[in-house]
């Protein structure tokens, strides 16, 4: 590609990234995103969320990070293209499409989550594994390994790849062990320093323990297919098995086991680096009918997008908090029922859990689950058109 073409492509990709970021922007901050944007000390280690929270007082914080995250994920296609620069044009198109048009990237570019970051870090390791140049900068790899672990716990799922890279280097075994194990030990130490992280991981991972193996398998298939829009998932798996790429197979098994344990749609992206690596390995050995491949991929992605369309209306949390701000309500907000950190993100007032004993101090009561008891309290009135229901004091001046 000439310089001019490259710049043009980078600009088009950036446009694509911004569009994807705005798709996520429509619905407002999700609860997990709020955790990272506000640097709430669980469940993940602090590195990424610490950086994210640095501009938390800026009104455009959310959009800013959405665009950064989307950009990172979309422009990562350049790394993949480097791996196939010697292949035919059609093969390069297939690889770029596998990454850019899979639902994993389409749905998750622009989300401020840790899974996309982990996927990118995994992509970096995979790049080192698959490139021709076999020289290994072991301590640099170990440093990135440390960084990835302190970004999010799920980085351990890519340990087989890191292992393979470290084993390639020509240093004494003891040093190799140190490079691999010291970052893990530090992560363990961090976990001990943060009991909340420990507890939340246990809750997170055992959320669905009672499910049968069939429900689990179905859920696993869903997340796996969601990653690569079925097509890339299947071709990718075939690719890594055919090439007997053991580190990639190992990571695939670990990610699968993890998803069997705790299934969340946002883990779909963790399959992506592995799937695309499989596509690349396959293309290095044989041709792939690019046109049908890309068309099928697009069809699958569209089918997924129709089933799970993006939401463009503000979330209940954003709506409710804007209403409360407009009504100039002051004082802590009591929430009855469950609520995520997205409420905290949207709120300019302090939020506390509903507590009848302290009710007199409340500025308003928000009921995310029905709280009919509030109707019985004559001094509290149901705020008009509010959903979830919001109660405010009938005449604030009376209660002093």
């Amino acid at each position: 590609m000439t310089r001019c073409k490259k710049i043009l492509m980078a600009l088009l990709l950036e446009l694509f990234a911004v569009v994807l970021a705005f798709v996520q922007f429509g619905n407002g901050v999700q609860t997990d995103e709020a955790k990272y944007l506000l640097n709430i000390p669980y469940p993940h280690p602090p590195l990424a969320r610490f950086i994210l929270h640095l501009n938390q007082n800026w009104i455009h914080q959310e959009l800013f990070w959405r665009i950064i995250f989307a950009t990172l994920l979309v422009q990562a296609v350049w790394i993949l293209l480097r791996l196939v620069q010697d292949l035919k044009q059609s093969a390069r198109v297939a690889v770029a499409a596998s990454w850019l048009l899979s639902t994993g990237v389409l749905f998750q570019a622009g989300t401020v989550m840790m899974a996309p970051l982990t996927a990118l870090e995994a992509l970096f390791f995979i790049y080192l594994l698959l490139r021709d140049d076999e020289t290994v900068d072991m301590w640099l790899i170990a440093t990135v390994w440390l960084v990835s672990l302190f970004t999010a716990y799920q980085a351990v799922l890519f340990a087989p790849i890191v292992c393979a890279l470290i084993l390639r280097s020509r240093v004494p075994l003891l040093q190799k062990i140190a490079a691999f194990a010291i970052p893990l030990l530090l992560l363990f130490l961090y976990t001990l320093s943060n009991p909340l992280a420990l507890a939340s991981i246990t809750i997170h991972a055992t959320k669905d323990v009672s499910d049968t193996i069939f429900i689990r398998l179905a859920a696993f298939l869903r997340v796996w297919f969601l990653g690569g829009s079925v097509v890339v998932s299947l071709v990718g798996l075939y690719g890594i098995i055919r090439a007997r790429a053991w580190p990639l197979i190992g990571s695939f098994l670990l990610v699968s086991a993890y998803v069997l344990l705790a299934r969340f749609d946002y883990y779909a992206i963790l399959f992506m680096p592995l799937s695309v690596a499989g596509v690349i390995l396959l293309l290095r050995k044989r041709q792939l009918a690019t046109f049908p491949f890309v068309v099928l991929l697009c069809l699958c992605s569209v089918a997924f997008a129709l089933r799970m369309p993006p939401v463009f209306s503000p979330s209940p949390a954003r709506r409710t908090m804007q209403m409360i701000d407009n009504a100039h309500i002051h004082g802590p907000l009591f929430i009855s029922g469950s609520f995520g950190h997205n409420w905290q993100y949207e709120s300019s007032q302090e939020i506390v859990r509903f507590n009848a004993a302290l009710l007199s101090t409340a500025g308003a009561v928000i009921c995310t689950s029905p709280c009919t008891a509030m109707d019985a309290r004559s001094e509290w009135a149901h705020f008009r058109f509010s959903d979830p229901a919001v109660y405010v004091l009938k005449n604030p001046s009376d209660t002093n």
């Binding site: 669980y42 938390q56 302190f150 490079a179 970052p183 009991p195 909340l196 859990r353």
Partner: protein
């Protein structure tokens, strides 16, 4: 053998005089390669004409390409000598220095630079603005590459072909500053010799240094800086790893120590859980807003942060028996 590259663009008036002057000084075995980018003033025709009398002259006419740096690398690529040299063809570079540069390489230097910024050198009659600009650029370009030249942007230098060959593929020949590119690619232990150069004014024609070329220089600096950063990271990778690990351990270990009773003492652990639950029920606080800072035999110390964006963080001591939060008396 010396291979002297003369990049030209619209130098038809200067070239004959330069070739004439060179013929007088070049007593060693040599070839002169004029690399002309299809100049509108037909410099290449002038050069072809000169060939009739100067048998060591070769002419490379590039059609559809422009650029000083790439002209030089293409000249080097077809050169046959073991000393590769380049000079401007606008008579701003004194032809007599060719001998000094040649001797420097023959004397064992990997690279020899005719420098305007060393003692005895000068930039001549430049307009003021350009002198300062050149100085600032020179300073950065001096510090950045592994081989430090006092005039890394000079257009008059020689390099031994055995030093040049291994790096030829790594060069990005954009813009004017091919010497900087070479200095950045050479190994740090390369031997550099410098001789003073007094820059003379242009005889005919005009300079081709325009905004685009200056912009290319900025990009070149950024690119070299990035590469150097990675080189630096690579060569100090063990230290980088060690510092990263040490830093993490120093941040984390004291915190683990401060709460170690949680892991070693079952009664304390129970008390902590109970306290957290009670405080959360009575105050409406969320567990996730409380960060345990330290655990003692009879109380814990926590940071509570208000459950809102930009909420303030307050430190509390919570005794196990009374569970009434008290502001921390001192920060550990």
């Amino acid at each position: 053998m010396l291979s002297l590259i003369l990049p030209t663009f619209n130098e038809s008036k200067n070239l004959p005089e330069l070739i004439g002057a060179l013929e007088k000084v070049l007593t060693m075995k040599h070839e002169i390669i004029v690399v002309d980018d299809n100049s509108p003033d037909k410099t290449w025709e002038v050069a072809e004409e000169l060939k009739k009398h100067h048998h060591t002259l070769r002419v490379l006419r590039r059609v559809g390409r422009r650029g000083l740096s790439s002209a030089v690398t293409e000249g080097f690529a077809i050169a046959q000598g073991d000393v590769l040299m380049v000079m401007d063809s606008d008579l701003q570079h004194d032809p007599h220095l060719v001998i000094d540069l040649y001797d420097a390489i023959k004397g064992g230097a990997d690279i020899a630079v005719a420098s305007r910024y060393m003692k005895g050198g000068s930039v001549g009659e430049w307009v003021r603005g350009r002198r300062y600009l050149s100085k600032a650029g020179t300073y950065i370009a001096h510090a950045l590459p592994p081989v430090h030249s006092s005039d890394p942007m000079s257009g008059f230098f020689a390099v031994s072909s055995k030093s040049y060959e291994p790096i030829a593929k790594k060069l990005y020949p954009t813009g004017f500053k091919i010497l900087l590119e070479v200095l950045a690619a050479l190994p740090a232990k390369s031997k550099l010799t410098e001789i003073p150069l007094q820059f003379s004014p242009r005889k005919h024609g005009e300079s081709k240094l325009n905004m685009k070329v200056q912009w290319q220089f900025v990009l070149q600096i950024v690119r070299i800086a990035t590469v150097r950063l990675f080189q630096w990271l690579r060569s100090y990778q063990f230290s980088v790893f060690l510092i990263a690990c040490g830093f993490t351990a120093v941040l984390v270990a004291p915190r683990v120590w401060a709460i170690h009773l949680l892991y070693t003492d079952a009664t304390v652990r129970k008390n902590v859980q109970h306290t957290m639950k009670v405080i959360s029920d009575t105050q409406g606080w969320l567990i996730s807003d409380m960060e345990v800072l330290a655990v003692y035999k009879d109380h814990i110390r926590i940071d509570h942060r208000e459950h809102r964006k930009g909420g303030t963080v307050t430190c509390f001591d919570l005794p196990f028996d009374s569970i009434s939060p008290a502001l921390c008396s001192f920060r550990p």
